[in-house]
């Protein structure tokens, strides 16, 4: 196994934020069909160990590329940039304001036990999520603006957290 190979190269994909999801899914399935431990359950321990290492590697690469935040963090990491550096957490004030408004909206919906309000909020969060993903295609693939991309990745992570919080409130309201 070549550990210097990138996750993109592993699946025969270009190292871009824009993702051919169908190609990724197909290549992942093909790879797991080849390396999964279930293919080697009747083989020697040596082959079973190798299979586990490969299947682990394929799962990790697939997970990273599939996930919008992780794919961004990974592309920046390939540029030597730590997107989640705890010492650099600057964020545009307008985005932070928006965050606070959304948090209040979550609290309001929880207080009023309004599932329909949560639905509307979730739609809004998902739209913004997709917008930031589009920005990242532009920043990383076209402009190669890594500083800009770093902030966008962090924003996307905020969005994920908010979406998870809305999920928690759904759980609370639905019992």
């Amino acid at each position: 196994m070549d550990f210097t190979q990138t996750h993109f190269a592993l699946f025969g994909l270009p190292a871009t934020y824009a993702l051919d999801r169908e190609h990724l899914d197909r290549a992942y399935r093909e790879m797991q069909n080849t390396v999964h431990p279930d293919r080697f359950a009747a083989q020697s321990d040596a082959e079973q160990r190798v299979a586990m290492q490969w299947a682990t590697r394929a799962n990790e690469a697939y997970r990273t590329l599939k996930h919008p935040v992780d794919r961004g963090v990974y592309l920046l990491q390939l540029q030597g940039i730590d997107a989640l550096d705890a010492h650099n957490t600057q964020m545009a004030p307008a985005f932070l304001m928006q965050q606070m408004e959304w948090r209040e909206a979550i609290d309001d919906a929880r207080g009023a036990k309004r599932v329909d309000a949560l639905d509307a909020l979730m739609d809004e969060l998902r739209i913004t999520h997709r917008q930031i993903e589009s920005q990242l295609i532009d920043l990383l693939d076209a402009k190669q603006d890594f500083e800009g991309a770093r902030e966008a990745v962090r924003q996307l992570r905020f969005m994920d957290k908010l979406i998870a919080e809305v999920g928690d409130v759904y759980e609370e309201l639905e019992g």
């Binding site: 196994m1 070549d2 699946f11 025969g12 190609h23 899914d25 197909r26 290549a27 399935r29 093909e30 790879m31 797991q32 069909n33 080849t34 390396v35 999964h36 431990p37 279930d38 293919r39 359950a41 009747a42 083989q43 020697s44 321990d45 040596a46 082959e47 160990r49 190798v50 299979a51 586990m52 490969w54 299947a55 682990t56 799962n59 990790e60 697939y62 997970r63 999920g167 759904y170 759980e171 639905e174 019992g175």
Partner: protein
């Protein structure tokens, strides 16, 4: 075992163990309804034990007894020794419960090809019958456990997207509701253990009768002479059951949300487990998913059917490219950090096998040891999660606080079992655990039980062990020879010679009777072929991926 035990349950409730699966990998404090059970529990570190007339038994030992009977039945039905078995577990079983299950199999002398999640097994049985594509839900309500799994079926790949459940919710709880109704109707005084079991049996009969009938007459005479005689209608029963049904729908919603899907995305709902025969369960599921669930396979047999099909593939009896399962871990794995908080290392619903590492540092100047507490669960506080293991990394060189870099690596294998290792990066000081000894059984316990079980049949055990090793060795030699013929180009002359020598040594050992020597010979041959296995896999992957590119760009 089986019907004999079922008949004995009300005469001898203390010594007739029912639904022991509920106690696997569980401490006394994890069991909710201890008071309503007739057993004499013994609180042991890690896993509860039960005092019986045959001595104190751990749930693992009881399971092993059941597995032994099943093994004997399988061997007589198939007419030969069992090479291995696929053992199914509820998808929502945590690491402790899975490990306990694997220990029980080991104790019963069964080679576990794979621990397979029950809903996934059911999906194989259904999916292959119907050659379906799309996203399916498997709703599995058994005697003591509830699972919900969301799977995507695509071109022969069964990919589990999310799983959830309740490992202490099942048909037994419905019996309990009817039991309470009977106690109320009969105005019964505190019950003896055998009367309690009698009522539970009657409760179960009544519940089952209501699957076919709109009402059932329930008549009971206790050993005290007290009695009750009343009619239970399906409507009354449904009312008692409704809170239990809600308890299954909450995990269902969570699983859908984790999969990022809504009810409208689900193409079909598969019903598994005897409890899904209850009309109220079918109705609740149909209402939730807005479609009638699939019930054309026997809900008690569908898991076994799927498991058998998977065993056929794993044993190498089929070409192997019929289908592939990609399963997940049901609960997040993590570590305790400062202030008793949980830090997740591998989130729930991560596809297995998987590995993830996290770096930690020392918090005191000159600190030379660090304790690692491995947890499973979703809660923020460590005390609210299941404790899987504690171990200590010692020999860290004294440094200022925050300078040491300790990398903790979690590896989860294809059975969903975890092993953890910790390493100080600058010095390479390392320690690792098979997450196992802090609950349930340590390896020593297993060895002791194996010995106990075989004291009367020591020669038998040796003969069996020898036989197993010879079968393994011959299999390994045949596979190695085939691999060398196929890929001789991947080996340098001296490497091939080393493998040949190791193989010849093992062939000689097989003709003798020292099973431990054969075991060492197998290990040696495995070690000397590791690089070769690695290169063969590299080559397979290159070939598979080359095909991919042609398909994509061609």
């Amino acid at each position: 075992m089986g019907y004999t035990a079922q008949r004995a349950q009300s005469q001898d409730p203390h010594n007739t163990l029912i639904s022991v699966k509920r106690f696997m990998g569980r401490g006394l404090k994890d069991i909710d309804d201890v008071a309503s059970m007739p057993y004499h529990f013994v609180d042991a570190p890690g896993m509860v034990q039960i005092k019986t007339i045959a001595g104190v038994k751990s749930p693992v030992e009881v399971s092993a007894e059941i597995l032994k009977v099943l093994r004997a039945r399988a061997e007589s039905a198939l007419g030969g020794e069992l090479v291995g078995a696929v053992i199914t577990v509820p998808a929502y079983f945590d690491d402790a419960q899975r490990q306990a299950t694997k220990d029980a199999a080991q104790l019963a002398g069964i080679n576990v090809l794979r621990l397979l999640n029950e809903p996934t097994a059911a999906a194989i049985a259904y999916g292959l019958d119907n050659t379906s594509e799309g996203v399916f839900a498997v709703y599995d309500l058994g005697g003591g456990t509830f699972d919900i799994s969301i799977l995507k079926l695509s071109k022969g790949v069964f990919e589990v997207l999310a799983t959830n459940g309740d490992s202490a919710l099942g048909g037994d709880d419905f019996d309990q509701r009817v039991f309470c109704w009977m106690v109320e109707k009969g105005r019964f005084q505190p019950l003896s253990a055998s009367d309690m079991r009698l009522l539970l049996t009657k409760a179960r009969d009544a519940k089952e009768a209501l699957t076919e009938h709109l009402d059932v007459r329930v008549t009971v005479v206790l050993s005290t002479g007290e009695m009750m005689d009343a009619t239970l209608t399906q409507a009354e029963f449904n009312a008692m059951a409704s809170s239990l049904l809600s308890k299954t729908l909450a995990p269902t919603r969570k699983a859908l949300r984790d999969a990022g899907l809504t009810v409208g995305d689900i193409k079909g709902v598969v019903m598994v487990g005897g409890s899904t025969r209850m009309p109220c369960v079918r109705q609740a599921v149909a209402e939730f998913f807005k479609q009638a669930p699939l019930t054309n396979l026997d809900p008690d047999k569908v898991v076994a059917l799927g498991a058998a099909m998977q065993a056929d593939v794993l044993a190498g009896n089929r070409a192997g490219d019929d289908w592939l399962l990609l399963d997940v871990i049901p609960l997040s794995l993590g570590l305790e950090t400062m202030g008793g908080l949980t830090e997740k290392v591998i989130p729930r619903n991560t596809t297995i096998p998987t590995a993830r590492a996290q770096e930690f540092t020392t918090f005191k100047d000159g600190q030379t040891a660090m304790s690692v507490h491995v947890l499973q669960g979703e809660r923020e506080l460590a005390v609210d999660c299941r404790s899987l293991a504690r171990f200590e990394l010692r020999g860290i060189p004294p440094m200022v606080a925050g300078a040491a870099r300790i990398r903790v690596t979690f590896q989860v294998d294809a059975d969903g079992l975890l092993s953890v290792s910790a390493r100080e990066q600058s010095t390479g000081v390392e320690t690792s655990v098979q997450v196992k000894p802090s609950y349930g059984l340590a390896d020593d316990d297993i060895t002791r039980m194996l010995k106990d079980a075989f004291t009367h049949a020591r020669d038998d055990m040796v003969a069996r062990a020898l036989n197993e090793q010879i079968v393994d060795a011959n299999g390994l030699i045949a596979a190695t020879r085939a691999a060398m013929q196929e890929d001789s180009a991947l080996l340098a002359a001296d490497e091939a010679a080393a493998i040949d020598a190791s193989m010849a040594a093992l062939e000689k050992l097989v003709t003798q009777t020292d099973h431990l020597a054969i075991k060492r010979g197998i290990e040696a041959l495995n070690a000397v072929t590791t690089d070769f296995a690695q290169r063969r896999m590299d080559q397979n992957v290159r070939r598979a991926m080359a095909g991919q590119k042609l398909e994509t760009f061609g």
